[in-house]
């Protein structure tokens, strides 16, 4: 580890100025990802600007939804009564990630901006274009079980590891960002990016831009939503694949609106728009869901380790949507 200066920021503006003006400076949230990277020698900042104690840790109601501060801890967000009632996919995706201890430490922004768990990215002795642009990608032809099946490039085949990031993808979310020139908002879908020629950039944020909040709008699909995750052990493991889904049914039982996003599939949460468009206006049937998942995956590239992902996605997407469609206590209430 190189020498490190530590600064506890006292205001968002001060934090932005401290990082934007210094290419070697980084924001520090709960530290559960960045501190690990310091130890692994794969992050070598000169200065850490601690933003975890800024007044960004509130969940506040807005006219049409919720404003989630960037510093809200994952456990507090998952336990928030409005999140549990109106945005179950958010609570479920958070609770599917990491452990009780880590969720007490991890922040909203830190979770969304956590970096890939690709074993080569985390091993400074191997080539990795994300860690060291131009050095090559060891995951092509290497350990491939967690690799992407959609949207990858020759430069990078990894996936985004966050469960929360996938859950948010089915909500009408906006990310509030503070930069040296003031505040801007971006649709959530524009936060993360596909790797292309520049896998060193996970997101569209510029150096020194501070995420201050994520804003959510209430909607029937948000209210009737869920998250399912497939992993190699029952808990405390990253996703092989995961599915976030939201559903709204018309009075005649057909789908009036639907949202599906996949994790473990691409460099960013994958909004399954082919699936969504195909299912709108139709009765929800399991076989049909499986067929349209196959359509969404038409351009998928699999290798030995990822060969099972399409089948997992078909099964879990069908299960998530049929469970949401099944009449149950929450569903009746949502319809009232």
């Amino acid at each position: 580890m190189r020498e490190l200066a530590y600064v506890r920021a006292t205001s968002p503006d001060e934090a932005v100025a401290a990082v934007a003006g210094d290419p070697q400076a980084r924001f520090l949230g709960g530290g559960t990802n960045l501190v690990d990277h310091l130890k692994l020698g794969i992050a070598t900042p000169g200065t850490l600007v601690d933003v975890s104690r800024l007044a960004l840790a509130e969940v506040e109601g807005t006219a049409d939804g919720l404003r989630v501060g960037a510093g809200v801890r994952n456990s507090d967000l998952a336990a928030h009564p409005v999140v549990r009632r109106d945005f179950p996919v958010l609570a479920r995706s958070l609770l599917a990630g990491a452990s009780g201890q880590i969720r007490n430490q991890a922040t909203t922004a830190g979770n969304l901006l956590q970096r890939t768990r690709c074993v080569y990215f985390q091993d400074a002795s191997t080539p990795c274009n994300k860690r060291e642009p131009g050095s090559g990608c060891s995951a092509v032809g290497g350990h491939d079980r967690y690799n992407a099946v959609l949207g990858a490039s020759e430069a990078c085949v990894t996936v985004h590891p966050s469960d929360l990031a996938v859950g948010l993808a089915v909500l009408d979310a906006e990310v509030v960002v503070l930069g040296p020139d003031g505040e801007r908002r971006l649709p959530y879908d524009e936060l993360h990016r596909l790797p292309g020629h520049h896998p060193e950039h996970d997101t569209t944020l510029a150096h020194g831009e501070l995420v201050t909040a994520v804003e959510l709008r209430r909607s029937p699909v948000a209210r009737r939503s869920t998250y399912e995750k497939v992993r190699e052990r029952a808990s405390y493991a990253f996703a092989l694949v995961s599915v976030a889904a939201g559903l709204e049914l018309a009075d005649d039982g057909t789908v009036s609106d639907v949202r599906v996003a996949w994790g473990g599939v691409a460099h960013k949460p994958w909004r399954a728009r082919v699936v969504e468009d195909a299912l709108r206006g139709e009765p929800l049937e399991e076989e049909r869901v499986r067929d349209v998942v196959a359509e969404e995956l038409r351009d998928a590239t699999t290798t030995t380790g990822t060969a099972g992902k399409p089948a997992m996605l078909a099964g879990v997407t069908a299960r998530a949507l049929t469970r949401l469609a099944a009449p149950g206590p929450q569903v009746e209430e949502a319809g009232r």
């Binding site: 200066a5 530290g31 009632r85 609770l95 009780g100 880590i102």
Partner: protein, 174 residues
């Protein structure tokens, strides 16, 4: 070096640390508080779990400087040999360990977990997100999944945590 103040197991401690020191290393190497254990140093095992300002946290994944002013309670600070904490007693009663290396982390995690459950926090194992969670065995397993036990003493750990949960519920009713 940065000057730091921590309250550790009830005692105020002052120390100078290199900014790169984790809370775990500050506790063990600088303050000789050795009940939190270093299993993996990467957030993957839970053996370094302490209560940090009252909440269970991994001391290996936070920098000591980021915790200036914090209150840290380790398993050693929860009770004393003649007055064990109910969770400590439950681990003894149910043989919730074999080598004991993971135990201080398990105990702190259980104390933090029971407080979370009492506040109504749901988990991945909770069916109805809006109901008050009931600590079934499946719930306890899920909520304690951040603590690995290399000896595989999970059956005893589960029984111990359930005994402590029952005691906590009885106290709530009283």
């Amino acid at each position: 070096m940065t000057a730091l103040r921590l309250t550790v197991d009830g005692a105020e401690r002052h120390l100078d640390v290199d900014t790169r020191t984790t809370l775990l290393d500050a506790l063990r190497e600088r303050l000789e508080v050795t009940s939190p254990k270093k299993g993996c140093d990467h957030g993957q095992c839970g053996s370094c779990t302490v209560l940090l300002d009252g909440r269970r946290s991994l001391s290996c994944l936070t920098l000591a400087v980021a915790q200036d002013g914090a209150e840290v309670v380790t398993a050693a600070g929860l009770g004393s040999p003649d007055a064990l904490h109910p969770v400590q007693q439950a681990f003894l009663d149910h043989d919730g360990y074999q080598c004991g290396y993971c135990t201080p982390g398990q105990v702190c995690s259980a104390v933090g977990m029971l407080a979370e459950a009492a506040q109504g926090h749901p988990s991945h194992a909770t069916d109805d997100l809006e109901a008050d969670p009931e600590l079934t065995d499946a719930e306890v397993r899920e909520r304690m999944s951040g603590n690995l036990c290399r000896c595989g003493a999970y059956a005893g750990i589960l029984a111990a945590v359930q005994q402590a949960a029952g005691a906590a519920r009885a106290e709530e009713r009283a």
